[in-house]
Symmetry: C2
Subunit: 715 residues, 2 copies
């Protein structure tokens, strides 16, 4: 596609964009049918009814029931913790995979592993906003928070239920989500790592892909049918619905749809927020993180021990730098800022002629002012946020002092993260410090961040910080040397002691770092207070922006889906090639030939011998593409996904399972802000590959039978 033509397309609404709430599907029934869906969109409207009730939340990702006895299909990488938990030197399930031959062999998941089945999704906007009406700022925020917490508490009275209040369209609508939490989940079938994660980091975000990224679990309940911890006598859970695996595969152009729990998107943010993200936030974040990377790598030249301690943080910095840079490149390539600006300008022009302008426009203007006000200190806020996540002792001190502050309140009123139920997590963090800390490195990281801070204009700096660290790099360096030489926070027992200590003990402590942080804390609390007030007002005012946008889109003949927020969404589209660059076309289906091409015998391209042997035999009867004779592995679609959609079932026009979502392409890393139809693709395991593996390579005939899939064993 020519560049100019593509630019035109990118500015046009695209039919395949959208992470729809199931309740919205009847209203877009016409376009859904036009795209090729053969079922009745009305049947998809209630996510607590079949078939969508088969789609479950697995940790932060997605899975789906695929048998009436509770089999769950999800990704290998989503269930990886379960596989790891059951692996040891004698029985390495990561390396060898796992096939359970009967139910007695199924292996219990780690005890904190959870499946959640959504049983209720009710609109509670009036209840949530009732007490907030008329309030502003922090008071509005607190009223919403209190009403939400009350609804959750009420809902969770029913045993085995996990509830939450979610908001759609940035505070416009609120829903109470009720989920049955299943605690006994067992491992049933997993391919070896070199199939489930073939290509690993090298192929991450890459198409063409050749992973068999799937795993099968089974949910169990107590003999009474209620959620229960693992027990030998538990029985398979009978889900309210399960999906049927298709007997046929897909081809380029076929209709597909997907249901899952996408985490977060920013598609309906304002033009100013788009500009901030592209013109400042992404480049500035990359710049700050690169500076930290440099510090760690520089130390690595001479100190092997420090290199090891910071290896994981360095890897994470690099991943984030790569990811943010990719997002920035993508948003620039899509010209996202200009397109969003043009769209918003058109909306505001249209709005000016509407009766609603009188009430909406002032609120929209106020949103813009609030965003601008937040941006006034964005450099400082970025540095403080990075300081709190990229340090060990400093973070420990900040956490301990904040905890002492929160403990003065009743537990229910404490800031989340500092309630009693959070203390185990905090203790874990305080323990990890030892393996990840070196005083020399931490001082240099802080010096790097705070030297930047010292250069900020007066309006962004904080008196408490200036007093503590001085105004020059020399003062800063002297303070850090002195404080880190004197603190006892480097001692694990001492940290854990302070975690349990009374607030008064911390207040009296003469530990150098605790005292320093004690002086900084008022500034941090003040900033947080300001932020919450702003967020309260945004929660109150953004719905006006969304009302205008929804009305404007309606006039354009388009429905609006809410930005993703980890609730169940449906997207639809088709099996689609990718023209990633000029003259470069990626076919939407990969084949086993590509496994052989990529195979080096060395991790991560070390396909297991049984797989290579089976490919050499070419026994694909019943699975291969009838036209080409090739055996499919993965496929590509233009489905609208984001993080959290891992493990989402991909369905064909009849609603049968044809694929399992597990990744997206590198060009789509900016899709959380903007869906560019040229580049947005999702990557799925072709279920023909899964079926073939379970039939011919690591056979599990009884499972195929339970899944209702015919095996194609050689005669």
């Amino acid at each position: 596609m020519g560049w100019v033509m593509a630019m035109v397309l990118a500015t046009t609404a695209h039919a395949d964009e959208g992470m729809w709430m199931p309740s919205q599907l009847p209203s877009i029934a016409r376009q859904l049918r036009a795209a090729g869906f053969q079922g009745n969109p009305a049947d998809l409207a209630d996510l607590t009814q079949a078939p969508l009730s088969a789609v479950v939340k697995v940790g932060g990702a997605t899975g789906s029931f695929v048998s009436s006895d509770g089999l769950v299909l999800t990704n290998h990488h989503v269930a990886f913790g379960v596989i790891q938990y059951n692996s040891n030197a004698q029985r390495d399930l990561i390396q060898n995979g796992f096939v359970s031959h009967d139910r007695a062999e199924e292996l219990p998941a780690n005890p904190d592993f959870r499946l959640r089945v959504t049983t209720g999704f009710d609109k509670v906007t009036d209840k949530v906003l009732g007490a907030a009406k008329g309030k502003t700022g922090r008071a509005y925020y607190d009223a919403v928070d209190a009403a939400s917490k009350a609804l959750v508490t009420e809902c969770e009275r029913e045993p085995g239920m996990r509830c939450s209040v979610v908001n759609m369209f940035y505070g416009r609508d609120f829903y109470l989500v009720k989920q049955l939490e299943l605690r006994d989940v067992r491992l049933v079938y997993a391919p070896p790592r070199a199939i489930g994660n073939y290509g690993d980091e090298v192929d991450n975000f890459v198409w063409p892909r050749h992973s068999g990224d799937f795993t099968i679990l089974r949910a169990y309940v107590g003999p009474d049918g209620k959620p229960a911890d693992y027990a030998k006598d538990n029985v398979p859970y009978h889900p309210p619905a399960h999906l049927q695996i298709a007997s046929q595969g897909v081809r380029e152009g076929d209709f597909v749809m997907l249901a899952g729990y996408p985490g977060v998107t920013y598609r309906h943010r304002t033009a100013a927020e788009f500009a901030d993200q592209v013109q400042w936030r992404l480049p500035a974040t990359v710049d700050v993180l690169r500076q930290l990377q440099d510090v760690i790598e520089e130390v690595g030249h001479t100190d092997r021990q420090a290199t090891i301690r910071y290896a994981s943080q360095l890897q994470s910095l690099k991943n984030n730098i790569k990811r943010f840079s990719g997002e920035l490149d993508g948003l620039k390539r899509s010209d996202a800022v200009a397109i969003r600006r043009k769209d918003e300008d058109a909306m505001l022009s249209w709005l000016a002629a509407q009766p609603s302008a009188a009430t909406l426009r002032p609120q929209i203007d106020e949103v813009a002012q609030l965003i601008a006000a937040g941006n006034a200190t964005r450099e400082r806020d970025l540095l403080l946020a990075v300081m709190q996540t990229q340090t060990q002792l400093m973070r420990s001190a900040l956490t301990l002092q904040r905890l002492a502050h929160e403990r003065a309140k009743p537990d229910a009123q404490r800031e989340s993260g500092y309630q009693q139920r959070d203390e185990d997590l905090t203790a874990g963090m305080l323990r990890q410090v030892q393996r990840r800390y070196d005083p020399k490195v931490e001082k240099q990281l802080l010096a790097s961040l705070l030297t930047r801070y010292q250069k900020l204009p007066d309006a962004q700096r904080l008196p408490e910080f200036d007093a503590a660290f001085g105004r020059s790099p020399a003062e800063l360096s002297g303070t850090l040397d002195k404080v880190y030489a004197a603190t006892q926070l480097g001692d694990e027992a001492q940290r854990l002691h302070w975690l349990k200590a009374e607030p008064a003990e911390l207040a009296k402590s003469n530990d150098a770092l605790l005292m320093l942080v004690g002086k900084l804390q008022p500034a941090l609390l003040r900033i947080e207070e300001e932020r919450k007030a702003r967020e309260g007002d945004l929660l109150r005012l953004r719905p006006a922006y969304m009302d205008a946008l929804i009305a404007y889109r309606e006039k354009q003949g388009r429905a609006v889906y809410p930005d993703a927020n980890s609730t169940l969404r449906v997207s639809y589209g088709k099996v689609t090639p990718l023209e990633a660059r000029d003259a470069v076309v990626y076919h939407p289906l990969t084949t086993t030939a590509g496994i052989v091409e990529k195979n080096t015998g060395v991790e991560p391209f070390d396909a297991p011998k049984p797989l290579l042997d089976a490919i050499a035999r070419g026994d694909y009867a019943g699975y291969a593409d009838a036209r080409t004779g090739a055996m499919p592995v993965d496929f590509l679609s233009n489905l609208d996904t984001t993080g959290g959609n891992s493990g989402s079932p991909v369905l064909n026009a009849k609603g049968e399972l044809v694929g399992l979502n597990f990744d997206s392409n590198w060009e789509a890393v900016s899709a959380s802000w903007m869906f560019d139809p040229r580049y947005k693709r999702a990557i799925h395991v072709d279920l023909r590959y899964m079926r073939w593996l379970m039939d011919k390579v690591y056979p599990a005939p009884q499972l195929l039978k339970e899944l209702g899939i015919p095996a194609h064993a050689a005669p």
Copy 2:
């Protein structure tokens, strides 16, 4: 295409393979027409007649006449020396390009730049082999050499002619090539570097490509019409023929053909030579070169000065390692060894039943024995060859001692490279030493190579080397330290003095390195003598292998082209996409959209502003693809090419110029040994891009007129 299916294809003869001698084209007329050629193949049979007489040799590459007044089209990278010669700080033609507005502005090339127009191509097999008949070994070699030299001397009596004897099918047929050598060549039109070499090393061997790799020169002769050195009064040369630029472009699947001077291929080498190349030579060479790379990089950690001196050698080592590794990967991917072995076995089985077997088979067996005999010392020979090319002082000493040895003979009988006409080149080499030499590094390079040598079995080692360097690394190291501390070869004046000195002075010299090399020289001369004897016998015997192969192919209904040897060849095929890997397809045409996509503003992706502006304007009328509206840049074909084909004209079915060959794809780096139709592609400038640049971006209306191309200027 599935992997299994592709494997089958690769074992089948492929119609598009072949670098045909023009005289062969009438014999393959049927397949040429079937492929789409619309002309008369008989018209292409004589390379001294139109249209092939328009194809000229430009240095080691190719060009073609494109006007009756001597305009020559070739690559930017082929004419780069001419552009560089005319560039300086005030007038940077590399950076800015060059447009001559009338003939007076045309700029003379560097004085050693030559165009060669082939005017004769006569079979001289009988004359060359007459005196060799009945001889063997070195005598056979010398007889062929003497007869060839005599023919060349005779031929070059005509002023302005450059002659050579070339052999086809490894000694089966000999031809006398007569070429008119044009010495006054001028620069007429060159795009800026950032167009002519857009992407540079990053895109080298890469498709999709976006280079405008073309330059236009003009040949001049004296007022008498004869070749002459540059002079103001010279007049444009009127070539015997010139090519016409097509008014239409190409599309995927279109017939194309190409004429040029491919350098060297090994397609008809024996199965044993294929096995040697893949199983030993490429991996061993990469291993040795990597060891040298390690030595240089290791020193670089601590010695900045040495790093700079060896930067160019290191770059060259890396390039060679990459290239050889790519060739190895390609030959393995194509399963070249097994396929060639199977083919040769089939040929020998077929031959066994033929009457000719009685005479051919013994000779073929003798070829195999000679190859095996050469391989018996291949490890040693590789190390000695690398020692002579990858050192500075050692190479200087070897060259000076050999020169002294050769000077004892009449000039005509000296080894080529050591004749009087070679001494300027040698002096240049001896001068360069200073900038590329560090004694510490050279000693380590030699230690690395000679330690390997010391581990070779007795049968491969040489008494002279053992005596000079000892049998242990310690002795070796001691010798190198002593010799390099004592030699005066590090001094440039001294080296140049020895270059001019009488052989007797060198013989008496007590310079440590010259003396050492003096002791090694008898061994090196002995090895060379053995090699020439073997080569003489191979020259005598390989024709039997070729006779058998040609007869066997004839029975298969296939003609055989001779391996490339820098003589004019024609290949034909079509505009072809590349399926480089599973699910990855490269379209055969790139567009200006790709220039914008790749552009970073930083070299080598720094497209000039006039180009970017013209793309933004999108004024492509008369040039863009009618169907897509896209403006083509480069295109891809399956034409059979190798090094030397740079600048080759690419013609359409009517024989009109549609493209200019300038590179091949990375997957085709193994094509010098085997043409794999799945991967072998050639990369061409689309002449629509050239015409558009000359019309709209850096206009040269008078040139377009001379080229007979309509301009499409805006009204």
